[in-house]
Symmetry: C2
Subunit: 350 residues, 2 copies
DNA sequence: CTCACATGGGTAAGCGCTATCCTAATATCG
DNA sequence: CGATATTAGGATAGCGCTTACCCATGTGAG
């Protein structure tokens, strides 16, 4: 090798110009050879260009391409928390579908703060992404909400596409999740299994997803004339630790006769199970637990968690297809939320 | 309201040029007002520009900025699987730190395929990211490996910075994880707890992380003169289901006298626990289980999983600081891998 | 054998920005 | 008070790429 390295000391990447010069062709021909342009280019030239590109470690500058072409190859994804399995699964779906379409995903986390969400949307918009997917959970009465809508409207007005996951946010397209109906079915199934005395752990007031799930659940119970006393509904954080704390609260309130607790998502349910166990009780036997989402862990806790299954990865993929307009027949059907009863809610002899 | 919308029918985003015209100033002044340039600009002008920008829903085109400035605000992150809690936690750390630095993260998943990894690096390089973080696990003898190194070398030669997480990949900087030492400590701790008869579930042959953890573990056992018979070491996929399948294999081999099984990561350990339970045994009592990583779920399975704790989110953050060169004192210390003994490995009366 | 017409290469005008240089106006000083 | 610094806008030359456009060929029809 020696020191005659291809471009040992270069501090700046090879440009298309360099490649063209190296290949002894014009810039245009180089460009046409490297990206798949409509124009045909003589095969000998093409080979020369490709060889030169390889020799110079050329990598096309996507920013420059985006500027010149007027469109980027980027998808922006906004989630509440990257590490939360719910969002991680959705993100995995988006990433996979994007990859399938040759797009690149840029991801940001709102940390459940709607001010941040707004800022992030603003900043992400600068990327001129083809689409923007908002999975971060929305609040009902959010003051930043109209500003967000305005920002997104501007984004769409300039050719972008936005897709919400979860809640339908009016002028925009969305992959609606059947939070209410799913929870309602779950409630009915649990009543059928013999449960009568319920408690619920839901997210802090106003969180749309949490509210929908709770109200659906209550509606399901209501169909059998069952209700939940207000002090049996706790609203901690929408996280594993929130579930743990909420369950402790319930236990401290001396809710001895609670047969079953419904947590508005699986991570909370998992936290609740740990709290139950830490209180010296056995989840599933002393207190049954049901969640929502069917995160992978749901199968692996003890007892396995009853829940409402949401095809999260598929939801992520679909959100992207929806925004891109590359829907197929499958996408005509609504996303199915399916009740999955496991050992955490054993049938109860009446 | 009405139809006199600010720019209702615009199909293309407002440019800085539009803003400048609207504000009645030059392009240069508009540019200087909107980004924080070193040059001072008259406050009245600045206000005019800002007002015009707001009125036109202006959002600076990051691609154009990148082209003009010669640097982007992007960091590229490569993981094996977005939904895997190990990578999700790391990604969360990277995203948080990036956000802290005002950078944007683009993420891609190799799906554990090194061909894809190479392709992704090539394509991501086109973004001209400031840094590239490779967390996806590496193979020891990978044929695509030298091509990858070459690609990364080219990236660094043109001013980028790369950081590996996990394995040290020679010319590049890395956040080394003490896989071997951590596993060794775990082995010692388990021997101290009274275990003598071991089995192991590790990743497929050649996976660096898995190999290091296994060999560290074996070394730890070796210190007490203990070894693991070859048929007690299974190499399934490095995933939850791999752990499940591997454990089934072990059980089918009639390994009745296995006291404890070490899984090379927590998701495998969790799968193994499910397999144990499905075989009618009780994890922790009939067969003890230990993992590695300390993913959040480790606390919530039953019994809680003994493992080696890795501060995954912190590792993600540190990888970015390392690549950026914004290290602080904390970063001088090596990442601590800490043995955490929980109920899945009860002390064994000798 | 001329002429309309594909074919495929090169030239150059942008894409939306930044940054350098230029310049007029104001401030500073012996 | 004239001379020299500062200051802060405005033109304008790129950044790396794409894409009209242009134009020298080659081709087949009339």
């Amino acid at each position: 090798m020696g020191t005659g390295d291809t471009n040992g000391e270069r501090r700046t990447p090879a440009t298309l110009h360099d490649v063209a010069r190296e290949a002894g062709v014009s810039l245009a021909t180089a460009s046409r050879s490297i990206n798949g342009s409509t124009r045909k280019v003589n095969d000998e030239y093409r080979q020369r260009v490709l060889a030169a590109a390889a020799k110079l470690d050329y990598s096309p500058n996507l920013s420059a391409q985006a500027v010149a072409r007027g469109t980027s190859m980027t998808v922006a994804l906004l989630v509440a928390d990257v590490a939360d399995p719910y969002f991680a699964q959705i993100a995995a779906g988006v990433v996979r579908e994007a990859d399938h379409e040759g797009l690149i995903v840029t991801m940001a986390a709102t940390e459940r703060d709607s001010e941040r969400e707004l800022e992030l949307v603003r900043s992400l918009r600068g990327q001129r992404p083809r689409v923007m997917i908002l999975a971060a959970s929305r609040r009902a009465d959010d003051p930043a909400s109209t500003a967000l809508a305005e920002e997104l409207r501007a984004f769409e007005a300039s050719g972008g596409r936005v897709a919400f996951i979860g809640t339908a946010e009016e002028p925009f397209r969305s992959v609606p999740l059947d939070n209410a109906t799913g929870a309602e079915s779950l409630a009915r199934a649990l009543v059928d299994a013999g449960y009568r005395s319920f408690a619920a752990l839901t997210g802090i007031e106003g969180l749309r997803t949490a509210e929908d799930r709770l109200s659906g659940f209550l509606a399901g119970l209501g169909a059998s004339g069952i209700s939940i006393a207000p002090d049996r509904i706790v609203r901690p954080a929408f996280t594993r630790d929130g579930g743990y704390d909420g369950m402790r609260t319930l236990i401290e309130r001396g809710a001895r006769d609670i047969e079953i607790v419904f947590a508005a998502n699986d991570v909370m349910a998992v936290g609740a199970m740990s709290a139950i166990r830490d209180a010296g009780l056995v989840p599933g036997r002393d207190v049954a637990v049901a969640g929502f989402d069917d995160i992978p862990t749901a199968r692996d806790v003890t007892p396995p968690l009853s829940t409402v299954r949401l095809p999260l990865e598929e939801i992520g993929r679909r959100a992207l297809r929806l925004a891109l307009g590359t829907l197929d027949e499958v996408d005509e059907l609504p996303v199915r939320a399916e009740v999955v009863l496991r050992a955490s809610t054993p049938a109860r002899g009446v």
